[in-house]
């Protein structure tokens, strides 16, 4: 073992032959290229092929027709999408649970219960990932609008900020307890909602500074990485696993994000208007 280290230091000390440097760089470039191919290009290529074949995009109608009535076609698509959004909102109003409506067109996140808008906040930033951005609009409207039930969720804050308190043993302890209320810690708000159709919605606080504990934020980031790692690992284990996750990120004020996350029940319904 000592010999190996001795040799290593000698190797480092000596001038490394150019051939070795070239080989080293070539191997690393090959690794990067292979990783890009396996983890990036192949899943995306499969996803694009799958979408194109499933929805017959390759047999699309004549493009010349598109240019003639482009404005009118755009308008009717937008209005029909709004019509379907409203009809979905009406359908959701029959439920007894609070649901989340994300109106990207008007930049609003809305909590709705039985058709009544309980709370709404302005979305300051909207971000789509490339897959969702490139998806033909009619497919995005019909596949990723919902209403969908959240399949998996996690956040940097607790859903129920429970504080456990033991009953006081005597009246002296009880009087001491009454002097100040026990308040839960207010951490920063980052929420990830995942749906069965490969859609992921991230609701992040718009404030850059962290007001709460760094530990809570790190825990969230850990869960966040784990979520995507699990998704990518599933691709190797299961042939039918989804190749690509369509992502929407919205930013809203911290306290509004907290209100929205805490108001929503477990497995809430979410509706999106693009």
């Amino acid at each position: 073992m000592t010999g190996i280290f001795k040799n290593l230091s000698e190797t480092v000390k000596r001038r490394v032959p150019l051939k070795w440097v070239v080989i080293f760089i070539a191997v690393q470039i090959t690794a990067v290229a292979a990783a890009f191919l396996i983890f990036g290009l192949i899943p995306v290529s499969r996803e694009v092929k799958n979408i194109t074949a499933t929805y017959g995009l390759d047999k699309a109608a004549d493009k010349s027709a598109l240019s003639e009535n482009a404005d009118l076609l755009f308008k009717i698509r937008e209005r029909e999408h709004y019509d379907s959004f409203l009809r979905s909102a009406l359908a959701l109003s029959k439920s007894d649970s609070i649901s989340l409506l994300i109106d990207l067109s008007d930049s609003l996140a809305i909590l709705s219960l039985k058709g009544v808008f309980l709370f709404q906040t302005k979305i300051s930033e909207i971000e789509f990932n490339k897959g969702l951005d490139k998806l033909p609009v009619f497919l995005r409207d019909s596949l990723y609008s919902g209403p969908f039930m959240v399949e998996r969720e996690f956040a940097s804050i607790e859903k129920f900020p429970v504080v456990v308190k033991k009953a006081p043993k005597d009246t002296t302890e009880a009087n001491a307890d009454n002097s100040a209320p026990v308040l839960p810690t207010q951490n920063d708000v980052f929420v990830l909602l995942a749906f069965a159709n490969n859609l992921v919605i991230e609701i992040n606080q718009e404030e850059d500074d962290l007001a709460g504990s760094v530990k809570a934020w790190r825990e969230y980031k850990k869960g966040y990485s784990k979520f995507f790692k699990e998704h990518n690992l599933a691709l190797f284990k299961d042939k039918n696993a989804p190749e690509y996750l369509y992502r929407i990120k919205i930013s809203i004020p911290r306290e509004d994000a907290r209100s929205i996350y805490r108001a929503l029940p477990l497995k809430p319904f979410v509706l999106v208007r693009y």
């Binding site: 190996i4 040799n7 000698e10 190797t11 191997v27 090959t30 690794a31 990067v32 990783a35 890009f36 983890f39 990036g40 899943p43 995306v44 290529s45 194109t52 995009l57 699309a60 109608a61 004549d62 027709a65 598109l66 003639e68 009535n69 009118l72 076609l73 009717i76 698509r77 209005r79 019509d83 409203l86 009809r87 909102a89 009406l90 007894d96 609070i98 219960l113 039985k114 009544v116 309980l118 709370f119 990932n129 490339k130 897959g131 998806l135 033909p136 900020p161 504080v163 308190k165 009953a167 006081p168 043993k169 009880a174 307890d177 209320p181 995507f228 907290r258 209100s259 805490r262 108001a263």
Partner: protein, 226 residues
Amino acid sequence: MKSNTSKLIFAIATAMTAAVLTLFLFHKSETLKDHSFIFFKYPQTPGLYATKDSVFISKQLKNTEKRIAASLRKLENLLPYGPYLLINTTQNKFVLRTRKEVIREGICSTGSYILLEAGDGKQWMFKTPKGMFPILGKIVDPVWIKPDWAFVEESLPIPPRNHPDRLEYGTLGDYALTLGDGYLIHGTLYQRFLGLPVTHGCVRLGDEDLEIVFRSLNVGSRVYIF
């Protein structure tokens, strides 16, 4: 021999660096996929109306607008006719409003989410229920009938049901609106705690706010708690 060992070390170092790099890139798969989309695009899809003429599309557009107007009317009809109260339990704020305008808004106090453990297996969770609640009753000068947990919290012996020790006057303010299951909207002696989650599940309002809410809402009026 020396040269062979160096070669081995070099091979191991190269392979390990490549493996670490690959693992790192696996970790960044989502970014790689996003970059990969640069090389792909979907065929242009004109959609359902592409082959139709502008007259047909305009007619369809008119029909869609009619459907939108009808849906908006239906949604508006879902709103309560009279005044209603919205309570945000996270921000401890309330809004008293009608379909068209806000009558009053301000701070309130809602459930503390304290789980009180009595030690003998008994426990109480002090949270405000969420959902839509109709006002079931309106009380002037309400009297608080103290539940068991109020005695446990003060470390006092729990009196039997209907015992006079359970009655407390003046604690709930001048008015109370009942929501069912023992939950009330009422006033408070602890005005300094308004805006904080400190209650045992009821909604506490400041004196002036309570009076306006009490006078605006009737039995059957809706309270939305979220």
